[in-house]
C-alpha cells in the first residue's frame, strides 16, 4: 500500500494504517530532526510531534503522490519552531556521545582526513543557519528535489538553490584550505 493510500485510510480513522505509516517513515523523520537539532532526545520528541500532526491533518492531505514533501513540511515547521522556542536559532546542541565537544578549529594547513574530516563536517553542518541546513539535509539525506524542498520549506526553488549553494560553500571552505594556504 502506498503512502497516499495509507493517508486515505488514516483520514478514515484506521489506526493500523497510521501505525504502518509511522513505522515506514520514523527513521527518516528521526534522522531529519537529529540533524536539525543535534540531539537524539529532541529528535525523538519532534518525531512524535511530527506524526501526531500528520494524524491530526490527515483529513486535509491531498493524495497527489507528494507525501514525502508534505511530511517534511510538517517536520520542518516543527524543527523551525523548536529553534525559535530555544531562542538560539542557528545554534544547535551537540550530543556528547556523538559530537566532539572538545573540538577546536583546525590549524589552517591541517590535513583533513577520515575521522577528523567527519568531525569537522558534523560541526560545520550543525553550525549552518537553520534554513541552509534544512535545505541541505533534505537534499543530501532525503533525496528531495529542489521543487519538493521549496514546497516543504514554503519558499521558491530559486531560494532553495541559493540556500544550497551557500551551505555547500560554507562546508567546503570549512574543510578545504584556500589555494593560497596550501
Amino acid at each position: 500500500m502506498n503512502d497516499d493510500q495509507l493517508m486515505t485510510r488514516i483520514a478514515a480513522g484506521e489506526e493500523a494504517a497510521f501505525r504502518l505509516l509511522v513505522e515506514r517513515w520514523e527513521r527518516q523523520v528521526h534522522a531529519f530532526h537529529w540533524r536539525m537539532t543535534g540531539s537524539r532526545e529532541e529528535a525523538e520528541d519532534l518525531t512524535q510531534d511530527t506524526f501526531l500532526k500528520v494524524h491530526a491533518h490527515a483529513g486535509g492531505y491531498r493524495p497527489e503522490g507528494r507525501f514525502q514533501s508534505w511530511l517534511f513540511r510538517i517536520a520542518g515547521n516543527l524543527a523551525r519552531s523548536w529553534a525559535r522556542r530555544r531562542k538560539i536559532i542557528g545554534w544547535v546542541r551537540f550530543d556528547p556521545d556523538v559530537h566532539d565537544r572538545a573540538g577546536r578549529g583546525p590549524a589552517p594547513d591541517a590535513v583533513v582526513a577520515g575521522d577528523e574530516l567527519r568531525r569537522r563536517l558534523q560541526r560545520a553542518l550543525a553550525c549552518l543557519p537553520p534554513r541552509q541546513r534544512e535545505a541541505l539535509v533534505l537534499r543530501r539525506y532525503h533525496d528531495l528535489s529542489q521543487r519538493d524542498i521549496a514546497a516543504a520549506m514554503g519558499t521558491s526553488e530559486g531560494a532553495v538553490e541559493s540556500l544550497l549553494v551557500r551551505a555547500l560553500d560554507t562546508l567546503r571552505r570549512e574543510l578545504a584550505p584556500e589555494p593560497g594556504a596550501r
Binding site: V98, A124, L168
Partner: protein
Amino acid sequence: MNHIDARLADWLSGNLDPAAREAVAAHCAACEPCRRRLEQGEAVWQALGELPAPAPERPAWEGIAAALHPERAKAGAPAWRRWSFPAAAAAALVCGVVLGDRLAGEPTGVARILTDDIIAGTLLSEDAAADLDGLIATAWNDPAQGGTR
C-alpha cells in the same frame, strides 16, 4: 556570469541530464574557480554521505499510541523531556568556535574561554549566558533568515 552556482547541487546529487552535465564540465574545464568548487563540493557531498545518524532508541509508535490514547497511559509515565540550558549553551559555544574561526574576528576569544569552562564541567553563570546572547546576536547574520518568516 553565474558560473556553475545554479547547477552545483543538481550536479552533486546526480540530477542533471547529460547535456547539462556536459555544459557544467565544459565550463569547469575553462574556469579554475568553478573547477575547484566542483571538486571540493564533491568531496563535501561524499563526506556528508558518510555521516551517520543514530537510530531512535525506542519505536516512535510507543509514544504516539500513548498520546492518541491518554486514557491507556499509565500514571507517572515520563512526560516531555525538555531542553537543558547548559547543554544548549555548550552547543552554542562549540558553534561559536567554528564561527569565530570563520570570521577570524573577536568572538573567538570569548567563545574559547567559555568553551573551556563547559569542557571543565562548569555550568554557565548568568553573566556568561548574557555574553553568549550577545555573541549570538552580533555574530550571526544570514540574509535568508530575514524576510521569510
